[in-house]
Symmetry: C2
Subunit: 733 residues, 2 copies
């Protein structure tokens, strides 16, 4: 489907190199390689392996009971792209100017062009072609082609690893929580070296992990250090494979052609089931494809690794996984590649023991609380008001499990993983919440809690949290009954009774939701509206994001949102709110939202689209879809904003196409086309079917590409979808 | 008055040495010396100089804007009491057994008795007498008297300083916030030494402070290392003075007789104006005297130093000053030695620039926020939810200023220090609070705030905070008008207008106070009663204090108090609450209070007395007054609980005697005598008068010891107090 769609940016030579490294990085879910300059040092070395981390002690200014004691940081590995090039007088070509960079999104091939110069100002050209294997995930190939320019003699290249590169800004005392910390317990050593290959090992003292990386030439006779002649022929090329293994065993080599082939076939398949494109706006279309591309590159596919907040494109946020996965990224996989969605949820399942331990640390005798930020599932958050207190995370994971099951009816998953997680999260909510009386009624509440909005903390009855908890209880009840019916034996093994399920149902019915009578909207929490509105008029532009310029106490005492909170619940639970209230709610919260979080705009875009406010929907989408390409947040160099990549898919599919699954389990779309576009098209997988949905002005065309007939609701009307293409003329927007 | 009242504890040889060191420590407000064993090493070296601290960087697990960047820690100085004793074979007497310890509260003399032994198990007796100069505050004298026991030969003593002693449990990774941290940037060196004296210097690399300490013998011919003969005479004694100077200049020597004299005369004067005694219970009477004694020993008297939470008796809480000073300790000084109360307030005034800076850091363009914990006034709190958020501190300081003025009418103080502080704190409250609508009324509120109770944090409208802010606004208004009238020039210089004062008055009238309709009591905050009550029945005794055993998030989500909060406001503002509501309020909050803070029981005692619940009043008092003597909190070894020392005075004078100053400025007492006592008696200074008040069953006797006639209200009846003694027969309790 996606043919010849390439990312190429203007003026790369004058761009911030850090941004380019992140934007053009390659990854396969297992490891990632930033597009660092092969000749000059970068602030970030650029190689990250998913799940390869080191512990370090967390030091608190003032600690308290059950604060996490150790941090986890993804380990920066030596640069795989580094090459040293010397002239025939053995002067080094130490300067390089980036001329061009092209990333082919249809096959994953990255092509770069540099002009190298030595101290005598003699120049040669260097073209670099690289690709990462998407099937045999341990291999990366890179080919350097040299061309004589003002220098025309022999060149000597050295492709041995550089074990220690100059470091950029890191360290313990950095104030920006979005960056990473320096590690002192990492050992890098050469374990084997000969003319033809070199193997290095990187090991961690505390987490006891070890990785070996081997570099070898394309051909069996390619030496890592060798002479190439630009005197005889104007152009020579030389390539290396870098393979990585983290377990003992023989090292099986892979050749560059296979790497490129595996990359191309993976992308072909990925686009086949997950294409999404915009007609009539090449820039946004490219950005959207780019986002989906990078989302796939970052995603662990083995059930043991997940998606870091910055993917494998940078060490920002220390390589941790957050709620971003379930709320912003899993939806794309659920509806295009459910096998990967399942693996991501299995990752959570594999952390369940950590989550149970954490719940006990919080004084809860039953249930599990998943880690707010972690690599292996152990809680590492050092600031609980915006982490542990944000225990909606449990509900977010439950929500993703519910959606996955709805879209797959994967009973094996429910039996082996899903229901146990629903049960344990519901139990946590039951134990951590409390029964209370409100206006004479018995209600179930949550106190001292933080919702998605990190500019409000430690409040009572955050609407979003209560809604997620309710959904969690409902799912545990309903899917518990399903499992009990279909597989009573599996159900029986989990130590749960019908009575316990009935309690979940009862709590779900009695959960309290704060409501503001004056504005007739859902209230973010019990006391949100008693606070003054942030003085936006007096806040200069350079004081955003607020978190870097104002003390938390100053931010928390105002009505101000870092990101979508109550309105995110509105997007997730469309059946809980009518159009009028949604409109009032959107307007109110929009005015007080700074979008200082990269997780915000996509939600506002999707909701605006659903409300039919296409101007706003388009505007938010336009920002959100290009966030990293335009460095909107100002920190793309630390790594891409992975949640936002998934968010732009949400904007299109759940926003513009208005896709949702009804409580009856039926697929529903409510198309809204921005006037700026000729149309848009996407594919989704739903309960074994592959659908292609094309929306143009006045017409929605749905094609059942594969699978059995099914019903689909379009604009509140139900249609039977057969093999033939369904064309629906809609009322004009 | 106080004659021959001595502290002597049973079984000192089997007591925890750390507790004894703290309990028997000597101090003079400038420096303190723990009663460490002179022969063996202690975990804490024992010498602290008020205000002598070092900076160290604060490391946060996750930092945010305007978190304090450096910590301040009081510096442990070399042990002044250390002596080395050798036998004639130069074997050292390295073992010592404490036999007795006596602290004379009437003159400040400490007498100890030890039995020393060498490796051959030969023993000698060592009696130690020490005193600290209370007038020339740089001197401390200690005399060692040796007596032959099984060993009868010559002994060799060495009184040179030991610069580095073995350390006990300190360090960066300690989890108990009540302890201290290790410093690595302190330099200790010998700067001058000869046979007769030795001078050492201690300097800090970061705070750039330096202190010199000189040891010299009682006599000009006393060598620091010398031989004494126990062969010829069975008993010999040898004494040293340790002087300290922190500024350049000649070192003027002081002799031991003068030190003892200055100590005795100081204590005579102090008891003269501040006696408080209980008849019929020697144990509590001793404990009460002890508390007053230690409170005086800890208190800086120079306007540049204050009172640390542990005084000068241990490095716990890093030597920081908290709100404890104004709320728990200044009252004693205001009513017995107002000159010292003034110095403590001048200390705050001297930190006003830090406080202004801190307010700016919190985004407030006017006003000042004093440091929650600090030595020099710079904010060093590393956990803002229980520090910066507890900005009632500003109101606490204002309250103390108001009380000081009421009890002294010190116009010079008001002009030079007091009003400016009232103005700046009122401005902070004005800027950090907000106007809101509540039930149609315009009210003034405070959001995301923490009251005294550290088991509840980041709530809206903490009753105590709102009450303190209201008082602050009222004081700024009223005393502003006073200053304007009496000294318009001084008023004019402060950049304040009548209009601004009127705003304060207006806000004071409109401050919102949360109230619980169901229980008809003041509510601790807006949402306190929506939380569940802490599961006290399921909490084992060894899980207290809760802060060491439960995650803050777990504690905060319940109704549970670490200490008096709303009821503290009731004690401070008796005119705001009637007896019935007070009784309901006391009962409600008492049930949910753990008294995990040492600042709690004295308040409950005082209030219970005021309510006439003498059983409870007595019980709380009995615990509170002996807190450190019985190691009630389990951590006396880290230093005494200074606030509680002041609190026991509050219990007696503001509780049992019911002393208060009415809004009309009149002194009022409402005596309540526990049946366990024959009576109690105390002295207070009030607007230039010295009163002696004696309360026995059925009779209150008030004597105007010094000063002009005045009115006094006893049990709601006003009396004219002349030179003659006033006897009032009261109704039976």
């Amino acid at each position: 489907m996606t043919k010849d769609i390439k990312l190429r940016l203007k003026d790369v030579s004058s761009s911030n190199p850090g941004n380019l490294e992140a934007v053009f990085s390659l990854g396969n879910g297992h490891f990632g390689v930033r597009a660092t300059n092969p000749i000059e040092s970068s602030a970030v070395e650029g190689t990250l392996v998913n799940g390869f981390f080191e512990y370090s002690p967390i030091t608190y200014g003032e600690a308290a009971a059950y604060y996490p004691k150790r941090n986890e940081t993804i380990v920066s590995l030596p640069n795989l792209r580094k090459i040293r090039v010397f002239d025939d007088g053995h002067g080094e070509f130490t300067h390089s100017k980036l001329v061009d960079m092209q990333l082919d999104l249809s096959n994953g091939k990255l092509v770069e062009e540099y002009e190298l110069s030595n101290d005598k100002k003699q120049t040669i050209k260097m073209n670099v072609t690289s690709a990462i294997d998407q099937r045999e995930v341990h291999f990366y190939g890179i080919e350097y082609a040299f061309e004589a320019e003002t220098y025309k003699g022999d060149i000597y290249i050295d492709k041995n690893f550089v074990l220690e590169e100059a470091k950029g800004e890191t360290g313990d005392d950095i104030d920006d929580p979005r960056k990473t910390r320096e590690l002192k317990s990492i050992k890098r050593e050469v374990v084997a070296t000969d003319d033809l290959s070199q193997t290095i090992a990187i090991s961690t003292a505390e987490s006891k992990q070890r990785i070996e990386i081997t570099a070898y030439g394309f051909n069996d006779e390619s030496h890592l250090s060798t002479k190439l002649s630009l005197a005889d022929e104007p152009k020579v090329s030389y390539g290396f494979i870098v393979g990585e293994k983290n377990e003992k065993g023989d090292f099986a080599k892979e050749d560059f052609a296979t790497i490129k082939e595996n990359s191309a076939s993976f992308w072909h398949d990925t686009w086949q089931n997950g294409e999404v494109s915009i007609a009539g706006n090449d820039e946004l279309n490219l950005a959207l494809h780019y986002n989906i591309f990078q989302l796939n590159q970052a995603t662990g596919r083995d059930g043991k690794t997940n998606i870091a907040a910055k993917g494998l494109t940078g060490p920002g946020y220390e390589g941790h996984t957050f709620w971003d996965t379930e709320m912003y990224m899993i939806p794309y996989f659920i509806y295009t590649n459910p096998e990967i969605a399942k693996k991501l949820l299995v990752y959570r399942y594999n952390t369940l023991d950590f989550a149970r331990t954490r719940a006990r640390e919080l004084g809860v005798n039953q249930g599990a609380l998943f880690a707010w930020r972690s690599i292996n599932g152990e809680e590492t958050s050092a600031y609980y008001p915006a982490s542990t207190a944000a225990y909606h995370l449990d509900g977010d994971i439950a929500y993703a499990i519910g959606n996955y099951y709805q879209a797959t009816h994967d009973m094996e998953f429910l039996k082996d993983y899903g229901f146990e997680m629903l049960l344990e999260t519901a139990r946590f909510f039951r134990e951590f919440g409390t029964w209370a009386k409100k206006d004479g009624k018995t209600v179930f509440e949550f106190h001292t809690v933080t919702g998605p909005d990190e500019y409000t903390a430690m409040v009572d009855n955050n609407y979003f949290t209560n809604r997620m908890a309710q959904n969690n209880f409902n799912l545990a009840y309903k899917l518990g009954l399903v499992l009990m019916e279909k597989n009573p034996e599996a159900f029986g093994k989990l130590g749960v009774s019908i009575e316990e399920l009935e309690v979940f149902k009862d709590i779900a019915e009695k959960i309290y939701f704060p409501f503001n009578d004056e504005y007739q909207i859902n209230a973010q929490d019990d006391t949100f509206f008693s606070k003054a509105i942030w003085p936006f008029d007096e806040t200069p532009k350079d004081k955003y994001p607020l978190l870097l310029h104002y003390h938390p106490l100053n931010i928390y005492r105002y009505q101000v949102n870092k990101q979508a909170d109550t309105v995110l619940a509105d997007l997730l639970f469309p059946e809980t709110i009518d159009d009028d209230q949604l409109s009032r709610e959107f307007d109110y919260y929009e005015k007080i939202t700074t979008h200082d979080s990269s997780l915000s705009r996509s939600i506002f875009s999707a909701l605006a689209a659903r409300m039919g406010d296409m101007k706003k929907a388009y505007s938010y989408f336009s920002d959100t879809v290009r966030m990293d390409l335009t460095d909107l947040q100002g920190n793309t160099e630390d790594g891409l904003h992975l949640a936002n990549l998934g968010g732009s898919w949400l904007s299109v599919v759940q926003g513009f196409a208005g896709m949702q699954v009804t409580s009856a389990g039926e697929l529903k779309i409510i198309p809204h086309l921005p006037i700026e576009w000729d149309g848009f098209e996407f594919r989704i997988v739903f309960n074994g079917r592959l659908l292609n949905i094309n929306i143009i002005d006045g017409k929605t065309t749905i094609k059942l590409v594969d699978g059995q007939p099914m019903n689909i609701i379009v604009d509140n009307k139900s249609y039977k979808l057969e093999k033939a293409t369904l064309e629906i003329l809609s009322k004009g927007e």
